[in-house]
């Protein structure tokens, strides 16, 4: 219970720090909010400008501005997007579903796939298949997400024409008529890209862990009793390897978010990632801040989940609150 309070308080302070940091960054940006608001090439008289500055309170002390902004945030008001002219919170709600779906699929598939590969490599240690898997993970750990996306797009959409070039639904179809089949069809390639990108770490980590287990005395004893490799892996290996792999994979959520920004850009998949790029490029401050905060909260929740999950599965770790282990 004490730890829970500690976690929550720490989380609260981090969120506070985050909001101050993002606010400061945007506050000192050379991008003029008024110019960004009215758009390039349009002019307004000095009088109108002052009125707007007055209305937005741009001449107030930064702390005052921050407090005003933060209070609005706490009330769920993220402000108005300057690109879309709609409340940021509505926009985020609309887009979050698509991104969450994409990330969940990618996270699950890459986790399962990576874990399986890792176990397989460990069991056949030193043989050809182990080498192949290791080699694959080694290369794949540095493949740029967007390049892989481009390659898949080229192969599957341009040459083979199996999949559509982008978007989360067929163009020209009403949102209400979009079936789950349509969605899955459009989700395929971005999800595949992110799934492949996410496997390397889990694979290598699981392989290492499994090899440790397989070299242990109790496995030697099990072998002596005549247990088959399959039995040993099932009884001793999986239990020991699953937790670290899961932990590692939870900490991957942050990176996955970055990956989904790129994948969404490549496949013009309408999610939060594509929107944050647009907001950044077109200087839509409220939208940018809203998405930055949301994504950080999301990652933070991922980390906390990992922490609690670890304690729940392995009560031995309960004694100390360790953030360092998440890394």
């Amino acid at each position: 219970m004490k730890e829970m309070i500690y976690t929550v308080m720490r989380g609260g302070s981090l969120l506070f720090g985050l909001s101050v940091l993002t606010f400061t960054l945007v506050y000192y940006s050379p991008v003029d909010p008024i110019q960004a608001y009215i758009g390039g090439g349009t002019y307004m008289t000095e009088d109108q400008r002052q009125q707007l500055e007055e209305k937005w309170g741009l001449n107030d002390h930064p702390v005052q501005q921050y407090v005003r902004w933060a209070t609005a945030l706490l009330g769920g008001d993220f402000g108005q997007s300057t690109i879309y002219q709609r409340p940021v919170s509505t926009l985020i709600q609309e887009r979050a579903g698509a991104t969450l779906l994409l990330m969940t699929v990618a996270w699950t598939v890459s986790g399962l796939f990576g874990f399986t590969l890792g176990v397989w490599a460990a069991v056949s240690r030193g043989r050809m298949i182990d080498r192949l898997i290791r080699w694959y993970s080694y290369i794949q750990a540095s493949v740029p997400t967007f390049w892989l996306g481009l390659l898949l797009l080229m192969i599957f959409s341009v040459y083979l024409q199996w999949f559509p070039v982008g978007l989360s639904a067929p163009p020209g179809k009403l949102l209400a008529n979009v079936t789950w089949g349509d969605r899955l069809y459009h989700l395929w390639l971005p999800a595949l890209t992110l799934s492949v990108i996410g496997t390397a770490q889990v694979t290598l980590h699981t392989r290492e862990k499994m090899i440790n287990v397989l070299e242990s005395d109790y496995v030697l004893f099990a072998k002596a009793r005549g247990a088959s490799t399959g039995q040993i892996v099932k009884r001793h290996g999986l239990k020991n390897a699953v937790l670290p792999a899961l932990m590692l994979h939870f900490s991957y959520v942050g990176e996955l978010f970055g990956g989904s920004v790129l994948a969404e850009q490549v496949f013009s998949y309408p999610g939060l990632g594509a929107m944050v790029t647009e907001a950044g490029l077109k200087a839509d401050v409220p939208l940018l801040l809203g998405i930055v905060l949301c994504s950080s909260v999301f990652v933070f929740i991922g980390n906390v989940c990992a922490d609690f999950l670890k304690q729940w599965i392995d009560p031995r770790t309960k004694k100390r609150v360790s953030y360092d282990a998440i890394e």
């Binding site: 302070s13 981090l14 940006s29 967007f146 481009l150 070039v165 944050v276 790029t277 950044g280 990652v299």
Partner: protein, 273 residues
């Protein structure tokens, strides 16, 4: 000829370094002629005259890619310097002084780790108004926490070492001890951290230019080349996509290789992992 592990390692280190050197010097020596548009040579597949083919404006892809790498390396260098310096200073401070200094720095580390890198880099790029500055700062400011954490742990462990305790008993100041005992010990970390930060920096630079932050479209940058390839993807000109990304991957892996091998050389005790 059979090589032992150490010899293999040296070969790998040597080859990767040589490759990187070659790419850098090539980019330096190449003239800018290939960047001119040439209507007669549009969309040529790779050939002897144009190793990487030409794009839809007749620009030589070989020149563009190598010049783009030049930029990536520059950004990587500056970003890595910023990141390593930050990590080193903060890690040392946290480890040496402990107490509230440690608490504050640890909090900062948690804060920066909690944010998705790419999103944070976008924010930084935006807040300094885009351009090279944004990319360099973004890369530098997001990549220090894990190295800082490592250095902090290392310093904490070292503080318990006997020679440190003796030095303290002999009345050495913290500054003297840091300089005489800690720094030489941490120096390999610094070098390794520096080299291993490069691949991250380069990948993030490419990602950021791909998304369209900062640089003008004329600048040769791998990210921009690939983002153009995305717009022309339906033409099926595979060399526009495959080769630039492949070269990028090669460079990233080479840096990775150099870093890992250096780690084995400089810190043999951890090389078994």
């Amino acid at each position: 000829m059979r090589l032992n592990e150490r010899q293999k390692m040296m070969v790998a280190l040597f080859t990767s370094s040589l490759l990187l050197l070659l790419l850098i010097s090539c980019g330096w020596l190449l003239s800018d002629d290939g960047l001119q548009t040439n209507g007669a040579l549009k969309n040529e597949p790779p050939s002897l005259a144009h190793w990487f083919g030409t794009d839809w404006l007749g620009r030589d892809m070989f020149t563009r890619v190598l010049k783009g790498l030049q930029l990536s390396l520059g950004v990587g260098l500056l970003g890595a310097i910023i990141g390593v310096t930050l990590a080193f200073v903060l890690g040392m401070l946290a480890g040496t002084f402990g107490g509230w200094v440690d608490a504050v720095i640890g909090w900062c580390i948690d804060l920066f780790i909690g944010m998705p890198h790419l999103i944070f880099i976008i924010l930084i790029a935006f807040s300094v108004g885009g351009g090279m500055k944004g990319i360099v700062l973004g890369v530098g400011l997001t990549h220090w926490p894990s190295l800082a954490r490592l250095i902090r742990a290392e310093v904490q462990a070292l503080r318990q070492a006997e020679y440190m305790l003796v030095a303290e008993q002999l009345g050495r100041t913290k500054w003297q001890m840091s300089r005489e005992h800690l720094f030489p010990h941490l120096f390999p970390h610094l070098i390794i951290g520096f080299v291993l930060l490069f691949p991250h920096a380069i990948l993030h630079e490419a990602a950021l230019t791909f998304l369209g932050f900062g640089l003008s479209v004329q600048t040769p940058a791998i990210g921009i080349i690939l983002s153009e390839a995305l717009h022309h993807i339906s033409t099926g000109h595979w060399w526009l996509t495959l080769i630039p990304g492949g070269v990028l991957l090669l460079v990233v892996k080479s840096f990775d290789e150099v870093g890992e091998r250096l780690k084995q050389l400089l810190r043999p005790q951890t090389s078994q992992q």
